[in-house]
Symmetry: C2
Subunit: 321 residues, 2 copies
């Protein structure tokens, strides 16, 4: 929930003059997204999202993110499409910050996850992974093993403030993952943050994916593991195997998971749980009271991590083979 | 900046079924307005604002506010129009809270106030005051003299935390206003909170007034005084007499200010400054660090209050007579 930069109307007018979108009709800050300032922008031509890139997004990465959305839209993936200005550019400065306009996507993210959402998500994720095959740009995942180690080092001194014994458990987990992390799995560009608030539905049908600002090159199966964690646990942190079975089953109709990927699923799911545990822990420990963002609970992901630690076979995720 | 209540999609669907607006297409929390949860709602039929009424708004007052907007829209005032359901009602429950849908108003509020904005505002405020003439409902202003005294009493013990000597200055000011407050001025329903973020423009033309949730019966000239404070001071708290002259001049072309109103303007402006000083002071002293609203600066209004205290003639506001 965030609008960090307030855009004065005269600056918006000058900015918009670079596009063929007509005059601005309204521009309202959206209370969604915690990393950037997002505005719902209406012009004479239509409805758009205007984003000013704030913390965490490295400006040098923006051509990758915007290029990816352009590429995906070209492949028929429903995602925000960057609007290019008269000069061909999709990225320019507004209020001294990098800013872009993308198309507005209909749909709402599901507040209560049903099985139908998981099935739709699985199918859509597979389509996404097929569509990135010939995307030429590359961005390393800075939130994989090395990144987790860095986050852990910056948090370990205070981790036990959140839960006694947490630092030690994280250290043990991190070491285990560093020793057992798979190699050579099929890889490409992944979304890496496909939480329910980044997936829109109209009725029961998935209508689009948003927020590609963590996209990076990594194992496709890691993206699947992120979704297992974000979509297949109930509010009490219990695992819903029906949801997982549907998510994985519909994924596999669009893209096959090979034996190595299936075998790696528990360890990838542990890694994904650790990733969100660590970023949430970092945010919790570095939260400034005046900030307009409520930090999420890191311990939710500790529960998920522990669940996956108890799994040795991917059949526990509802898979037959 | 606030969305306090997150509306689950299935509850929204059930709520919307009471209206003839078609299926929901998207629903995004807006980072504007500090008192209620506001959503920009798009349905098959159009674009609307969905509001869930949270703190500060007394549910018993909602028929007044919604009835006023209905009345004003009927008089041709550009304001949000309550959408009535199939049962004729504009107000019902959503997520256990009173909620209403109103029409979406084009335009943007001006971040940098120019003279043209003040002229447009003055004319529009006069039209508003003419339009409420035959509105039959009444709501007392609970943020007038008695309300200020209550606020002051609840803040005085800690007021000096914000500025040394503030409690004493407030006590003195309050007593002066209680002794000198005018009586018998022309009155009716006023907006009472017509700050720039409640006034929309398209280009240089005023396109609408929003947020009638402080509307109440009081002196029309008090509404003018609120606007003088909110629109005619610069960022360094210096008074811009050109803006005031335009605001008052264009107001008077739509509605005459009589001699008693003109004479009372300095005292009404002091009262209006004290009102916002006290509510901001209260919010500052009672601010919970976790809340998603940044408290506004009460001292901005102390500077304005002191300015008006030095004025004995309304000619200081740029008026000829």
């Amino acid at each position: 929930m965030a609008v960090y930069t307030d855009v004065p109307d005269d600056e918006l007018k000058i900015f918009l003059a670079e596009y063929a979108l007509g005059e601005p009709v309204s521009c309202k800050g959206i209370a969604e997204g915690v990393e950037n300032s997002n505005y719902l922008l209406r012009t004479e031509r239509g409805t758009y999202i205007l984003t000013l890139y704030e913390r965490r997004v490295t400006p040098a990465d923006l051509p990758f993110f915007l290029g990816l959305m352009d590429h995906l839209a070209g492949k028929g993936i429903a995602c925000p499409v960057p609007i290019h200005g008269r000069d061909g550019k999709a990225l320019r400065l507004l209020c001294g910050k990098p800013a872009a306009i993308v198309s507005f996507l209909d749909g709402m993210w599901p507040r209560r996850i049903g099985t139908v959402h998981c099935a739709e998500l699985g199918a859509s994720l597979a389509r996404l992974h097929q569509a990135v095959g010939d995307f030429p740009m590359v961005r390393a995942n800075d939130l994989s093993l090395a990144g987790w180690r860095r986050l852990y080092e910056s948090c370990k001194g205070r981790a036990d403030e959140v839960q006694k014994g947490l630092a030690e458990e994280l250290e043990r987990e991190l070491r285990a993952l560093e020793g057992a992390w798979p190699q050579g799995l099929p890889q490409g560009v992944i979304h890496a943050d496909l939480f329910p608030d980044n997936v829109f539905f109209r009725g029961d049908a998935l209508s689009g994916l948003i927020d590609f600002y963590f996209a990076c090159n990594d194992f496709f199966a890691y993206d699947v593991a992120v979704c297992l964690n974000a979509w297949c646990f109930e509010a009490d942190n219990s695992f819903n195997v029906t949801k997982a079975k549907l998510l994985l089953g519909h994924y596999r109709t669009g893209r096959a998971l090979n034996a190595a990927e299936l075998a790696a699923l528990p360890i990838l799911a542990r890694g994904s749980a650790l990733r969100f545990l660590l970023t949430r822990l970092y945010d919790r420990l570095h939260h400034t009271p005046g900030a307009l963002v409520r930090p999420k609970d890191p311990l939710e992901y500790l529960a998920k991590l522990r669940f996956h630690r108890g799994i040795t076979q991917s059949s526990a995720y509802g898979l037959d083979s």
